[in-house]
């Protein structure tokens, strides 16, 4: 099973309510998978700055003076906002790789959950309502976001096995289904130098998209080629800085329902997830077709990496 949701806002007046709406949608999907939950929020960017979401099981010790340490090492201004087991670091743009090296060098068990100018990812083991409350997601504003509640099949129930998975800068992925060729593909991608942290199948899917895009594919092309190279069942929802995309495998047995109005585009594993959205009674509601890449973007003139489908 697993439940996935996504919300892309067209109406700016809804942006302060993004976290609240996504949280409510995800909680409705709890009975599709109670093992772990996660939400990715695109909260907007600050010029010249970029963000990293980091996690630690012992935040009190791990995050102590982390901002000062990083500020010194990166020779720039670093701010940190701790939320339970996660911390959002704002660092100078272009210092992500350096910051990751510094964090790894500290050996404090700090894990990088996401990186990007706008993206923040919060995920933990537990029910959607508890995870959302732990990070106060319902108070967050943003332009778009995706969420996942997991029924684990291919790997352990851990924080790092939870979705969404960060792929490249400002990119993330949630998945309903299971990939069957993830072991061979993981070996191949590791040989290509792609960093894969866990034994989880979805992370391999995410790493595959990253690898394709590093080799010049647009997100749309990467999603298209995933239809050939990934074996198994999947409905993927992919977040980017400016929007989100949807693709389902050719068999399309993992459910997906979408709704669109003048105010938003919404995705849910089931229609139940969408029933509280404003104007849903008159929304265009449909199921995305198998083997078809869909994409919505805030950016009227997408660059090559954002352009898709």
């Amino acid at each position: 099973m697993c439940g996935i949701v996504g919300l892309f806002l067209k109406d700016k007046s809804l942006e302060p309510k993004l976290g609240e709406m996504l949280t409510s949608m995800l909680i409705t999907m709890t009975d599709r998978g109670p093992d772990s939950a996660g939400i990715a929020i695109y909260g907007g960017e600050t010029k010249g700055r970029t963000k990293m979401t980091v996690q630690s099981d012992e935040p009190d010790t791990a995050f102590a003076d982390l901002d000062k340490t990083l500020s010194k090492a990166l020779d720039g201004d670093v701010t940190m906002a701790v939320k339970s087991t996660h911390a959002i670091l704002e660092i100078p743009a272009g210092t992500t790789t350096q910051a990751r090296a510094v964090i790894n060098g500290l050996n404090k068990g700090i894990r990088v959950m996401s990186r990007g100018d706008s993206l923040e990812i919060y995920k933990e083991v537990g029910l959607p309502k508890d995870v959302a409350a732990q990070f106060d997601i319902s108070k967050m504003s943003g332009t778009h976001g995706i969420g996942h509640t997991r029924m684990a099949t291919e790997s352990a129930v851990t924080t790092m096995g939870a979705h969404p998975f960060n792929t490249g800068d400002d990119q993330c992925l949630v998945h309903n289904g299971s990939l069957s060729n993830h072991n061979s593909l993981r070996r191949k991608l590791r040989r290509e130098g792609i960093h894969i942290e866990t034994e989880n199948d979805t992370e391999v899917g995410a790493a595959y998209l990253t690898w394709q895009m590093q080799n010049g594919a647009t997100l749309g092309e990467a999603l298209e080629s995933s239809l050939d190279d990934l074996d198994g069942f999947f409905t993927f929802l992919v977040g980017t800085k400016d929007g989100f995309g949807v693709v389902r495998d050719p068999i399309a047995c993992k459910p997906a329902v979408m709704a669109e109005t003048d105010q938003y585009v919404a995705f849910g594993s089931e229609y139940r997830a969408l029933v509280d959205l404003p104007g849903i009674e008159n929304a265009r509601v449909w199921e995305p077709e198998p083997s078809t890449v869909y994409f919505w973007s805030h950016n009227a003139a997408p660059t090559s990496t954002e352009k898709a489908a």
Partner: protein
């Protein structure tokens, strides 16, 4: 403009608010209706895409769900008529035995799976695996149907006024498929068949019962080529 008459509403209509009453109590109330109940008209409001609404009914009652439903609405139905005033989720009418399900909107995947009898009418489109393993149910769809529909269909009729997706009727037995539009591809051992007078009659009856105004002569019949019925010794090496 002349004033429109108000919509007909049976005098004895019983209304259940699903969010207040809950699924189990709602279905329990419907299950408690006997063959000679005089409470024959039921309305369920606030369905909110819930699962298993009006499942396992076995009385000549009419239940109208005012909104979209989730998984398995009207599953295992006998005798009852279930109207869905919205779209229907996966597995709607699964294993229907008799009676009727009418969906005003679209139907999700595996509509009427393994259905043994009765009629399912879809006024919108039906998704993938429509009528999978059908065993006698009749399904009439005004729009299109998705891929792998009527996979292993054994008996009954699937009528499609629009187009059919990939692999229609794969590995089917004696179910009949009538498609007015195009078929993206036929499944293994499914072939185009001659439309004889008895088929036109069956089709006309089903279209009339569904209330769809379509000319039976515009449809093409498909069914089993019966090549998979018997073992072919030339394929022995494949096992």
């Amino acid at each position: 403009m002349r004033p429109q008459p108000p919509p007909k509403r049976p005098l004895n209509m019983q209304t259940i608010d699903l969010t207040e009453v809950g699924l189990r109590e709602t279905n329990k109330t419907l299950h408690a209706q006997s063959a000679d109940t005089n409470q024959t008209a039921w309305e369920i409001v606030n369905p909110r895409g819930s699962h298993a609404i009006a499942c396992g009914l076995d009385a000549p009652i009419e239940v109208t769900v005012k909104g979209s439903t989730g998984y398995y609405c009207g599953g295992m139905n006998q005798q009852a008529t279930v109207n869905i005033h919205g779209s229907a989720g996966p597995g709607t009418g699964e294993n229907i035995m008799s009676g009727k399900i009418v969906i005003e909107g679209d139907a999700s995947q595996y509509l009427g799976a393994t259905g043994h009898g009765g009629l399912i009418v879809v006024k919108g489109n039906a998704s993938s695996r429509c009528g999978i393993s059908m065993k006698g149910v009749n399904i009439v769809v005004q729009g299109n149907i998705g891929h792998m529909s009527a996979f292993m269909g054994q008996s009954g009729n699937l009528v499609v006024c629009g187009d059919a997706g990939d692999a229609l009727g794969d590995s089917c037995y004696e179910a009949r498929f009538f498609v007015r539009g195009t078929v993206k591809s036929l499944g293994a051992d499914c072939e185009k068949k001659e439309m004889r007078p008895e088929h036109l009659e069956i089709l006309k009856g089903l279209l009339d019962e569904a209330g769809f105004d379509a000319d039976p002569s515009e449809f093409t019949r498909y069914g089993s080529a019966r090549n998979l019925y018997n073992f072919d010794v030339d394929n022995a090496a494949a096992y």
